[in-house]
Amino acid sequence: MSPACTDFEVLLSLRAAGALEPAEAARTEAHLAGCAACRAEAAADEAVLRLATLPPPSAAERRAVAALAADALATLRRREARAASWKRATVGFAAAAALALVVVAPAVLGRKGPVLPPAPAPVTTAATAQVDAWQAPDLDTLWTEADVLDVAGAAYASDATDTSYLAIDLDD
């Protein structure tokens, strides 16, 4: 291998991967025609990449992905439904909190402040009934649901449908 051969080292690797541009290929082939050492290098590169190449997908692999599109879509829709459910719960919580503030604040302020005209009885009754009917979610529930919203992060990794994936580590 001559000093000039070092100029071809990268090109020989690219040649083995079938990634040479036409001009590079012409130059490389011209050099290979007169350089036995580089022909040996080229053969070694080809051999190692052949060994590193994976075999074609097996029948079992093809079966496993046969319904990939449908499965992925179903998973996506499930997540969206969970996220929408959480969003509704959040909005309901905010509305109930605002309503409670409207109802409770005048009563508290009324003790010290000027006398306000009494609120109409039917509104107060209805508001109180709504507040009574709503139950604050416990912190654990909020935390779990919030995790679902992290669509770009942990939620994907911890998807409950990925049981076979999780089982790989557990089995060992």
Partner: protein, 210 residues
């Protein structure tokens, strides 16, 4: 990714440096899906399934493992596409590039997790029967062992070399596209590929010495 007994499918490979018809179609499909068209989702998955599986299967322990990695890749890529579209057309990234980037990252994390346990590589599951019926059983066994060592060596390559090598050898992506997906120059990708090839040859070298 080659299928053993399927007819050759038309290539959907990206051509760097321009907006190809395939790219425009995919952009339209992504936009359609994001406004609720489930058929567009299915079409996008079917088009890109070979690419994604080609990237993740080297890291998978079982066929189901590969399927789950592929599914997670698609879901994350769709979310990434959704978010990038919200940021405006300037932030738009080709969907396939999202897929490649997400698949590489998931594979990297999966490899890190898998290194905690020692399992037979995916391809070994199918190789048993072939060895038992091969006429030259010894030669087949030697070849299989060399291939196994080589695939293990691929997973031990430095991260950048491994990513470039597998995106070329497994996914058969052009170096220009590999560079864009990994955020490096095309020349750096080619040099990394060369170093990866040299590192793998060094693994084989001891057995080639008399």
């Amino acid at each position: 990714m080659r299928m053993e007994d399927e007819p050759q499918k038309p290539s959907l490979r990206l051509v760097a440096g321009g907006v190809t018809p395939s790219r425009r179609e995919e952009d339209s499909l992504v936009a359609a899906f994001l406004v609720g068209d489930d058929d567009a989702f299915g079409e996008l998955v079917r088009r890109n399934e070979p690419l994604v599986l080609a990237i993740v299967r080297r890291y998978a322990q079982t066929p189901e493992d590969a399927r789950d990695l592929a599914q997670r890749t698609f879901l994350r890529a769709f979310e990434a596409a959704r978010r990038s579209l919200r940021s405006g057309p300037r932030a738009a990234v080709p969907f396939r590039r999202w897929l490649v980037r997400v698949a590489v990252n998931l594979a990297k994390n999966h490899r890190r997790d898998a290194l905690r346990v020692l399992r037979a590589p995916l391809e070994d599951a199918d190789a048993e029967g072939a060895i038992a019926t091969a006429p030259a059983a010894h030669d087949a066994l030697v070849l299989r062992e060399r291939a196994r060592r080589m695939r293990a060596a691929v997973l031990r390559l430095p991260r950048r070399q491994r990513e470039v090598l597998t995106l070329r050898v497994d996914a058969e992506l052009p170096f220009a596209e590999i560079a864009l997906a990994l955020g490096i120059t095309e020349n750096a990708a080619k040099v990394s590929f060369h170093y990866a090839t040299r590192a793998l040859r060094a693994v084989l070298a001891p057995e080639e010495t008399p």
